[in-house]
């Protein structure tokens, strides 16, 4: 079996640092949520190889190091490799980074080494640029601009490590500023990415890096339509779709990045017909079906959720644009309905937000399609959905919408739902504090009692007392009136 050329990347966290990791994660999470509120949620990536993670030596003054190393690099015949290596370590320090760019011709020196005849020096030079690109300081990142035409040119090269480094550097630089991004666009970053992905499609590490860089371009707010239209005109969407199926764990990173690119494309594009025609809904939904089998056999350190999340979003939003009569061309309905219920059950405890997104997709699927609604019933999924009705955080309201979608389709489905025990569950949901749940419950009960005299009688018998309590006790007048109307219908 073919295996890609894996560069062993080391996570910066050891297994025995889990507590520290959790602490850092909590701190970061707070900051990330605020960033999202400010519409500034952007992240760079720092590529670290195992051989590069040795601790750097403490030196007295970073500035002096930078100056001295720069001098050494400018001298003819010096052992540039050694100095570059030392410089790349020094440049992990933010103060050193600032100091470096303040030195005259510093980036120019690096670019010279990047384009020189020594292959190892090229690699080390791009390493230095990568460290600089990771800086949160816009000035530092912007200072690297002279290197970008070369970085783009090197994307057509063949060395994995070198190409990866160029890509992640470019990906980080995309976030530097609007001016930097516009320059990159003018220099043809998108066609370069497209041909790189095409040529290196057997190299999953490079595919992951290309997709990451593309995701950075697609996330920014300015000129997003321009970027999206260039991307849609290229071969990138088709390539992205082809990498959604991870080849064991090695391909998962690439699949994750491609899926997030697709999510951003689906969210921002105005040409959904194009996306649908290229099979976006087909690929995303069938991949969800495949993953739903895998998630039931979950292992530790499982990153599948990072792939499931963007796929759910693509499917959920693409359904909005897919005419219901064409649905079966794009979606294996029975399998997808089953898969979504498996995902719902799997994630309800461990990842409520993902369960909520799954329920949202199931709502979209059942909204206008009778086939999907029938599938929920024929696959015996009603009881597991009923068990989600107590679960809050937006899950139960979405599940109740799903039941309402089903009831809305036909009398037969209402009767079927009654036979499967939905009435008892609705008597409980009528008593909930969440008024949206109460309102939806009344809507569903109304539809059910319309379906047949027997069901009407059953609703009155099983739900009459709960309904009476709503009429007498609910704090919202509109709800009391609705309940009262329903009671009148039941009694006539």
């Amino acid at each position: 079996m073919w295996r890609p050329n894996i560069i062993h990347r080391r996570s910066r966290w050891h297994q025995n640092n889990m507590d520290e990791l959790r602490l850092r994660r909590r701190e970061n999470e707070r900051a990330l949520r605020q960033d999202r509120r400010d519409r500034q949620l952007l992240s760079k990536r720092l590529l670290l190889y195992e051989e590069e993670t040795e601790a750097t030596m403490e030196t007295a003054s970073r500035e002096q190091d930078v100056v001295s190393l720069l001098c050494k690099l400018q001298r003819r015949g010096s052992a540039k490799e050694i100095h570059l290596k030392a410089l790349s370590k020094v440049l992990r320090d933010p103060a050193a980074q600032l100091s470096f760019i303040k030195q005259e011709n510093s980036v120019h020196v690096l670019v010279g080494l990047l384009t020189g005849f020594d292959a190892q020096c090229r690699l080390l030079a791009v390493r230095c640029l990568h460290e600089l690109s990771y800086s949160p300081d816009t000035n530092v990142a912007s200072a690297c601009m002279p290197s970008t035409p070369y970085l783009l040119t090197y994307l057509s090269g063949q060395t994995t490590k070198f190409t990866e480094m160029c890509l992640y550097t470019l990906g980080n630089l995309c976030l530097a500023s609007k001016a930097v991004k516009e320059k990159l666009l003018a220099q043809g970053i998108i066609p370069a990415l497209a041909s790189c992905m095409e040529n290196q499609r057997h190299n999953l590490a490079v595919v992951e890096a290309v997709a990451f860089t593309l995701s950075q371009l697609l996330q920014t707010r300015d000129s997003v339509q321009e970027i999206v239209s260039i991307v849609m005109a290229s071969s990138l969407p088709s390539h992205l779709l082809s990498f959604l199926t991870p080849d064991s764990e090695f391909g998962l990173g690439a699949a994750i990045e491609c899926a997030w690119c697709l999510h951003y494309l689906v969210s921002s594009s105005e040409d959904h017909r194009n996306l649908l025609a290229r099979g976006a809904l087909l690929h995303c939904s069938s991949q969800l079906v495949t993953l739903s089998v895998a998630v039931t056999q979950r292992k530790q350190q499982d990153k599948t959720e990072l792939l499931v999340c963007p796929l759910l979003r693509c499917v959920g939003n693409l359904l909005y644009f897919c005419p219901v009569q064409d649905l079966s061309k794009h979606v294996a309905i029975i399998q997808l309905v089953g898969a979504l219920c498996v995902l719902l059950n799997t994630y309800q405890h461990s990842s409520p937000s993902l369960a909520r997104e799954t329920a949202w997709v199931l709502n979209n699927l059942t909204a206008h399609s009778t086939k999907c609604c029938s599938a929920v019933l024929t696959l015996n999924l009603v009881s597991s959905l009923i068990q989600l009705l107590p679960v809050s955080q937006g899950i139960n309201t979405m599940v109740l919408r799903i039941f309402a979608n089903i009831a809305h389709k036909s009398k037969e489905l209402c009767i079927w739902l009654t036979q499967l025990g939905l009435l008892a569950a609705l008597c409980s949901t009528l008593k909930m504090a969440d008024q949206e749940m109460v309102t939806l419950s009344l809507d569903v009960l109304y539809m059910m009692q319309l379906s047949s005299p027997q069901v009407k009688h059953q609703v009155l018998r099983e739900g009459g007392a709960s309904l009476q309590e709503v009429i007498q006790c609910n704090s919202e007048r509109a709800i009391r009136q609705k309940a009262s109307l329903l009671m009148d219908k039941l009694l006539t």
Binding site: C309, R313, T370, S374, S410, A433, Y446, P453, C473, N474
Partner: protein, 287 residues
């Protein structure tokens, strides 16, 4: 409407052959004029900045920053929708349906509409209404035994409330301060008479529970009715504290020897301010 014959399922949006197609008829029924049940299935389109996507975005960026921890390692607790008691003034909330139903059945059901006291069973409520609010009862009680034993199955009747109480203590081993056998107080009546005339619209006031429910009697609202019930509550407590000349029945000497137990209600017990813990103990006994 009669049941339609078996219908081949087809997609809602597909055209139908005629106006009498069962699915179409169903749709028409659902959208008839003036129908306030306005639910319609909707495909929800969510922008990438939607709040529903927040958590997923955070996980994504934690992953990019090398801080992702798979959820299998982090056990999250399930968040459940609460059940709320919707009785006006009662702000109790519960995670389990059984807890909510127990609360409602114990504190809001079997409520006397005259004095708004709640009783644990319909039987006790009936007895209460008869003894406290039925003027005919008062007349008949002068001539015959009318006070029914509270224990279900024991059909004995007594001439006075005190005799019944003695019977309960002696024969049925009830405590002397059984909360559902409070004698009717003359003093309290004046307040309650005013309340009896009040029209009670969908339980717009909190009932006066017999011995339970801190939630209900917390002065949360500025409704005048509420203050009155509080007043009665407090008065009752004060009155209780004044015992041991407990009842104002005509009988002072009990026919049987006075049991060691007294009728004194401990000062710490305030009817209407009591905790539910004591209540549950009694409840179990009654059953």
């Amino acid at each position: 409407m009669s049941m339609p014959e078996f219908v081949q399922f087809h997609d809602v949006s597909a055209g139908s052959s005629g106006g009498t197609h069962p699915i179409e008829a169903w749709m028409q029924q659902l959208s008839e004029d003036g129908n306030p049940f306005t639910f319609t299935p909707q495909i929800l389109h969510l922008h990438k900045d939607h709040e529903l996507f927040e958590d997923g975005d955070i996980q994504r960026h934690l992953y990019l920053r090398d801080l992702y921890i798979s959820e299998t390692e982090e056990k999250t607790t399930l968040s459940v929708s609460e059940f709320a008691c919707h009785i006006f003034g009662c702000h109790a909330r519960f995670n389990l349906l059984q807890e909510y139903e127990h609360h409602y059945n114990s504190l809001h059901r079997n409520m006397c509409s005259s004095c708004r006291r709640c009783f644990p069973s319909a039987r006790l409520l009936d007895i209460h209404i008869q003894e406290w609010h039925d003027s005919l009862f008062a007349v008949l009680a002068q001539k015959q035994d009318m006070y029914l034993c509270l224990v279900e199955g024991c059909e004995l009747k007594f001439r006075t409330a005190k005799q019944r109480k003695d019977h309960l203590i002696r024969i049925h081993k009830y405590p002397p301060d059984f909360r559902f056998d409070k004698p009717k107080k003359e003093r309290g009546n004046k307040d309650r008479r005013g309340q009896e005339q009040k029209v009670i619209e969908p339980i717009d006031d909190v009932c006066q529970s017999e011995g339970v429910c801190e939630d209900i009697c917390n002065p949360m609202s500025d409704q005048p009715e509420k203050e009155e019930s509080m007043e009665v509550c407090e008065k009752e407590a004060a009155h209780m504290e004044d015992m041991p000349t407990p009842v104002q029945d005509s009988e002072v000497n009990t026919p049987t020897s006075k049991p060691q137990s007294s009728y004194r209600i401990p000062k710490s017990v305030c009817f209407g301010h009591g905790s539910s813990r004591g209540f549950r103990g009694q409840r179990g006994r009654r059953k």
